[in-house]
C-alpha cells in the first residue's frame, strides 16, 4: 500500500537544506572518522553530501541520501541526476588534457534534454588558465592547490573554476551544469 500523493505533498513542504549547518557537520573531528571520501555539493537550490556509489572505468559516481547523483571523471562533472535540469552527458576529454598541462584551446560539449526529451548539445571552445597557488583548507588538512579558470565561449561564456592539487585531486570546483541550474560548487571534504 502506498500514499504517493501524500508523499508528494510532504516533499513539497520539506524545508530547504541549510548549507552552512550541513557544512558545519563536517569538522575535523568527524572527518577523521570517515572511512569514505565525501564531496559536499551546494547550488541548484540544495546542499548535500555525496559518497562514492559506483565506479565504471574512469567514471566515479557519487550519491547523496537525498537522491542526487553526480558522475565525474578526473573531477570534471559529466552527468547529474536529481537536480532537475540535469546534465545528461558531457565531453570533457579536452578539459582533462588541459588540466594535465596541455595549453591549446579545446572543444567542450554538454548534452541536455529539451522539452520533447530530445538531446540537445551545446558546444563551445574553451581555454584553461592556471592562476595563483593557494592553500585549500579542508576540514582535516591544508592542501596546496592551483586555482584554474576555464572559460568556454565568447558571448555569455561558461566559466568553471577548479582548485587542483599536485596529485590531480580537485579539492574545490565551481562547474556549469545547465542553463537553468547554472553552476554548482563541489568541495572535497575527505580523500
Amino acid at each position: 500500500m502506498k500514499w504517493p500523493f501524500a508523499a508528494l505533498i510532504l516533499a513539497a513542504c520539506a524545508p530547504q537544506p541549510d548549507p552552512a549547518a550541513l557544512r558545519a557537520l563536517f569538522d575535523a573531528e568527524h572527518v577523521a572518522r570517515l572511512d569514505v571520501p565525501v564531496v559536499f555539493l551546494t547550488g541548484a537550490d540544495t546542499a548535500t553530501a555525496l559518497v562514492p556509489a559506483a565506479q565504471v572505468g574512469s567514471v566515479q559516481t557519487w550519491q547523496s541520501r537525498d537522491d542526487i547523483q553526480i558522475s565525474e571523471t578526473a573531477g570534471l562533472v559529466i552527468a547529474t541526476h536529481g537536480l532537475g535540469h540535469d546534465l545528461i552527458a558531457a565531453d570533457v576529454a579536452g578539459a582533462t588534457a588541459a588540466l594535465k598541462g596541455r595549453t591549446a584551446p579545446y572543444m567542450r560539449h554538454w548534452v541536455h534534454l529539451d522539452g520533447q526529451l530530445q538531446p540537445v548539445t551545446r558546444s563551445a571552445q574553451c581555454r584553461l588558465v592556471p592562476g595563483q597557488m593557494l592553500r585549500h583548507q579542508a576540514p582535516s588538512e591544508v592542501v596546496p592547490v592551483t586555482a584554474v579558470v576555464e572559460t568556454c565561449g565568447a558571448e555569455n561564456p561558461i566559466i568553471n573554476q577548479y582548485h587542483i592539487a599536485a596529485d590531480g585531486i580537485i579539492w574545490w570546483s565551481r562547474q556549469w551544469i545547465s542553463e537553468r541550474i547554472g553552476t554548482i560548487e563541489l568541495e572535497r571534504i575527505a580523500r
Binding site: M1, K2, W3, P4, F5, A6, L8, A11, A12, A53, A54, V56, G57, V59, T61, Q63, D67, I68, Q69, S71, T73, I78, A79, H81, G82, L83, G84, H85, D86, I88, A89, A90, D91, V92, A93, H109, V111, L113, D114, G115, Q116, L117, Q118, P119, T121, S178, R180
Partner: protein, 674 residues
C-alpha cells in the same frame, strides 16, 4: 488611408535598419497575439498556452490561447458581456458568449520585410466578435515595432471603405446571435474594410508600452455599455514574472481596462528531467525485489542461454524509455555475467508490447558516452515479445487517496461551479489482465449542488441531467468495474469491462484494437450495452437503456499531431461521428479539440448546435518533478447537451497500449539513462 500607407512605408524604411528583434509576445484584450485591442503579426513560442482575463466597461473576456504550431494559434474565449444592444436593437443585460479565433503567421520577418499574419475571430460562435484581418508587424530600431492591419467585420467598423477584394465581397450578411455553434463562412472577409495599427515599445523584459489606432466601432456596446469617443488606445504591460503579465489600458477615450495574462509552455518543464531516486548502482537481494525498488513489477522471466527475457509493468515512470533504462540497469547488476542480451518488454493491464533488445556490453560501455547515448540507441533493436514464464504479482492490490476537483464551467447562472473532495482509488489485479478497480469520492466542499437550471432537452437526457447527479449525495461511487484484457496476437488487443463504468452509466463495454507494428495508424471497435445510473451515485439504475458503439480510426503523424475518427451510435441513440485533433508531447502533455456531428438536428440539439470541446492531459510528473504515471486529464465542453454523448470507460485500449509501442519508446528515448 493615404496617411496610413505613407506612415507604413516610413516604418519599413526605418525597419530595414533593425534586424528582427526578439520582443516578448504581448496578448491583446482578446487574449490573442496583439497590441492592445487589435491583433499584430507575432506568434508565441511553439506550444505556448496563455490564459488571459481582460475587463473594461463591463466586458470581461477569458481566453485560452494555444500555439498549435510555430505559425498557428487558436483562441477559445468565454466572455461575460454586460449591456449589449444586439441586432434588431434587442437589448441584453448580460450575454455569456463563447467564441473561437485562429491566427496564422504566413510570413516571417526579415530585415526588409515585416512578419504577416491572417486571422479570423468568432466564426463558429454567436458572431458578436466576428471579424477577420490581415496584419503586418515590423521591428524598428530603438526597441520599437510597428503594426499595420486591414480588417473586416469587427475590425472594419471605423474609417471603413469598400472591400478591396471586389464586388463579390461587398456585402457582409448579418449574424443572428441565436444559439451559436454554426460555422459562418459566408461572412468571412466580406463587407467594408478598414485600417488599424499601432506602435509598441519594449525597452526591457519587464515593461512595454503600446499605442494603437483601433478600427473596432464596438457596434453592440457603444452608447450602451460605454461611450466610444476616440479610436486611440494606450496600454502599459508589466511582467511580474516572465510568465505573468499585468496590463493597464485606457481604451476609446472612455474607460480604463485591466488584463492579466499567464503563460505556460509544455515544452518548458519547470523541473527539467525531474527528481526521484537515481538509477540503482548496487545489486539487490533478487531480481524481482530489485525491480520492485525501481517501481517495476516483474510479470514474466525466462533465461535462454545468453539471453534473458523479462516482462515488466511500469508503475512509476512517466516515460516508457526511463522504465526500460531502469530495468536494463537492474538486469545488468542482477543476472549472471554469461547473459549477453536483455529482451525487455513492458506490459500494461496484462497486455505486452514489443521487446527491446539491449546489448549488455554496449549498455556498460556507453552509459557515460559524451554523445548522451545516441550511439547506444543505434545498438538497440525491437523484437517480438516472447513467451516467458509468468511471475506471481508482487503487489496485486494498490490504492491511493488524492484530492479531486470537478469543475462545471459555463453555466449561464454561474459560469464557475466546482466541488472539491477526496477520491479513494483502489485497484486489485485478480490475475494477468483481470482487474477490479473503483473510485469512491467524498465531497468536502463546493457548489455544484446549487445548480437549479433543469434540462430542457428533447432527447433522452443522457448528459444534460448532470445537475441532478451533482445534487444527490456527498459520497458516490464514480466507477467500480471488473475488466478483462487479452491479447490474441501481438498486434490485437481486447477489453471487456463490466460494472459501474462512469458516474452516469453502468453496463458492459467490449472493445478490440488492431495496432499494426510500425504503423502510424490503428483501428478499433467498441460496443456497449448500457443502463443509466441513478442520480445518487450508488448502485441504483434508471430505466433508460441503450446500445452504443463505435468504429475508430487512430492516426499519429510527425511532431505529435494526431487525429481520431469515431463513427457509430451515441448515448441518446443518435448516429454520427466524432473527429478529434490533438497534439501530443513526448513528456506526456496532450491538447486536443473534438467535434461531433450526429443525426440530431441542430435545433433539437439545443444551445451550441452540436457537441464539441477541448481535451487536455497534463502529467503530474511534469508539474511536480517527481516520477509519477498519473495525469490530470479533462474534457471541457462549452455546453453539455445530450446529442453526441459517449460513455466514459477507464483504460480504453488505444491509450493503454500506446506507451508499449516502439514509436513511443523511441520518442522518449532521451529518458533511458535518467
Amino acid at each position: 488611408m493615404r496617411a496610413f500607407v505613407v506612415l507604413w512605408v516610413c516604418c519599413l524604411v526605418i525597419g530595414s535598419m533593425a534586424v528582427g528583434q526578439d520582443q516578448p509576445l504581448r496578448y491583446n484584450t482578446y487574449g490573442a497575439p496583439g497590441l492592445i485591442d487589435m491583433p499584430m503579426a507575432s506568434s508565441a513560442d511553439d506550444a505556448e498556452l496563455a490564459f488571459s482575463v481582460s475587463s473594461f466597461a463591463g466586458q470581461t473576456r477569458n481566453t485560452l490561447t494555444f500555439q498549435l504550431a510555430p505559425r498557428l494559434s487558436a483562441s477559445l474565449r468565454y466572455a461575460d458581456l454586460d449591456d449589449i444592444l444586439g441586432p434588431g436593437d434587442v437589448f441584453y443585460d448580460t450575454i455569456l458568449d463563447r467564441s473561437l479565433a485562429l491566427h496564422y503567421r504566413f510570413l516571417n520577418e526579415t530585415p526588409l520585410r515585416p512578419a504577416m499574419a491572417i486571422g479570423v475571430t468568432d466564426f463558429v460562435g454567436t458572431g458578436i466578435y466576428a471579424g477577420e484581418y490581415v496584419v503586418a508587424t515590423k521591428s524598428l530600431p530603438g526597441d520599437l515595432s510597428a503594426t499595420l492591419g486591414l480588417g473586416w467585420g469587427r475590425f472594419g467598423g471605423v474609417g471603413g471603405f469598400d472591400s478591396p477584394l471586389g464586388a463579390g465581397f461587398a456585402d457582409r450578411p448579418a449574424r443572428d446571435f441565436g444559439a451559436g455553434g454554426e460555422v459562418s463562412v459566408d461572412a468571412l472577409f466580406h463587407g467594408d474594410a478598414a485600417f488599424f495599427g499601432g506602435l509598441r515599445w519594449t525597452p526591457n523584459d519587464r515593461f512595454d508600452l503600446a499605442l494603437e489606432y483601433s478600427s473596432d466601432a464596438y457596434p453592440y456596446e457603444d452608447g450602451v455599455a460605454f461611450d466610444r469617443r476616440s479610436p486611440w488606445n494606450v496600454g502599459l504591460t508589466y511582467a511580474v514574472r516572465p510568465n505573468l503579465r499585468l496590463s493597464a489600458q485606457y481604451l476609446y477615450g472612455a474607460e480604463l481596462g485591466a488584463q492579466l495574462t499567464y503563460v505556460i509552455n509544455p515544452l518548458n518543464p519547470p523541473f527539467g528531467t525531474g527528481f526521484g531516486t537515481p538509477p540503482v548502482t548496487r545489486s539487490g537481494s533478487d531480481l524481482a525485489a530489485a525491480l520492485a525498488a525501481e517501481g517495476l513489477d516483474l510479470r514474466a522471466y525466462r533465461r535462454d542461454g545468453t539471453r534473458v527475457h523479462v516482462v515488466v509493468e511500469n508503475t512509476r515512470f512517466a516515460t516508457s524509455a526511463q522504465a526500460l533504462g531502469r530495468a536494463s540497469r537492474v538486469l545488468a547488476l542482477q543476472v549472471p555475467s554469461a547473459v549477453r542480451h536483455f529482451h525487455i518488454a513492458l506490459s500494461e493491464n496484462g497486455l505486452t508490447g514489443p521487446a527491446v533488445v539491449i546489448d549488455r556490453v554496449s549498455l556498460r560501455d556507453t552509459e557515460f558516452a559524451p554523445d548522451g547515448g545516441a550511439a547506444f540507441r543505434r545498438t538497440v533493436a525491437f523484437a517480438a515479445p516472447v513467451e516467458a514464464g509468468a511471475v506471481p504479482a508482487a503487489s496485486a492490490f494498490s490504492w491511493d487517496i488524492a484530492p479531486y476537483l470537478t469543475p462545471n464551467l459555463f453555466d449561464p447562472d454561474d459560469p464557475l461551479r466546482a466541488d472539491v473532495g477526496l477520491a479513494l482509488d483502489a485497484r486489485w489485479r485478480l490475475g494477468e489482465g483481470v482487474i477490479v478497480a473503483g473510485t469512491l469520492r467524498q465531497k468536502l466542499a463546493g457548489n455544484l449542488d446549487q445548480a437549479t437550471r433543469m434540462s430542457d432537452s428533447v432527447l433522452p437526457r443522457v448528459r444534460s441531467d448532470f445537475a441532478l447527479y451533482d445534487r444527490e449525495g456527498d459520497a458516490d461511487i464514480a466507477d467500480l468495474t471488473l475488466a478483462w484484457y487479452a491479447q490474441p496476437s501481438p498486434e490485437v488487443t481486447t477489453r471487456l469491462t463490466f460494472g459501474l463504468l462512469e458516474p452516469m452509466f453502468a453496463g458492459t463495454s467490449a472493445e478490440v484494437l488492431w495496432r499494426p507494428a510500425g504503423q502510424t495508424w490503428a483501428l478499433g471497435a467498441e460496443i456497449n450495452q448500457l443502463q443509466q445510473r441513478d442520480y445518487d451515485g450508488d448502485f441504483g439504475l434508471l430505466d433508460y437503456t441503450v446500445t452504443s458503439g463505435h468504429a475508430s480510426l487512430y492516426w499519429e503523424g510527425d511532431a505529435g499531431y494526431g487525429a481520431q475518427l469515431d463513427m457509430g451510435r451515441y448515448l441518446a441513440g443518435d448516429w454520427g461521428g466524432t473527429l478529434t485533433l490533438s497534439r501530443r508531447f513526448a513528456n506526456g502533455w496532450m491538447l486536443g479539440a473534438f467535434a461531433t456531428l450526429t443525426d440530431v438536428p441542430f435545433d433539437e440539439f439545443g444551445e451550441g448546435s452540436f457537441d464539441k470541446g477541448i481535451v487536455f492531459t497534463v502529467p503530474l510528473s511534469w508539474i511536480s518533478g517527481q516520477p509519477r504515471r498519473d495525469v490530470l486529464a479533462r474534457t471541457i465542453r462549452p455546453v453539455t447537451r445530450d446529442g453526441g454523448g459517449r460513455v466514459v470507460v477507464e483504460d480504453r485500449l488505444y491509450e493503454v497500449t500506446r506507451p508499449l509501442t516502439a514509436r513511443v519508446i523511441d520518442d522518449t528515448w532521451g529518458m533511458f539513462w535518467r
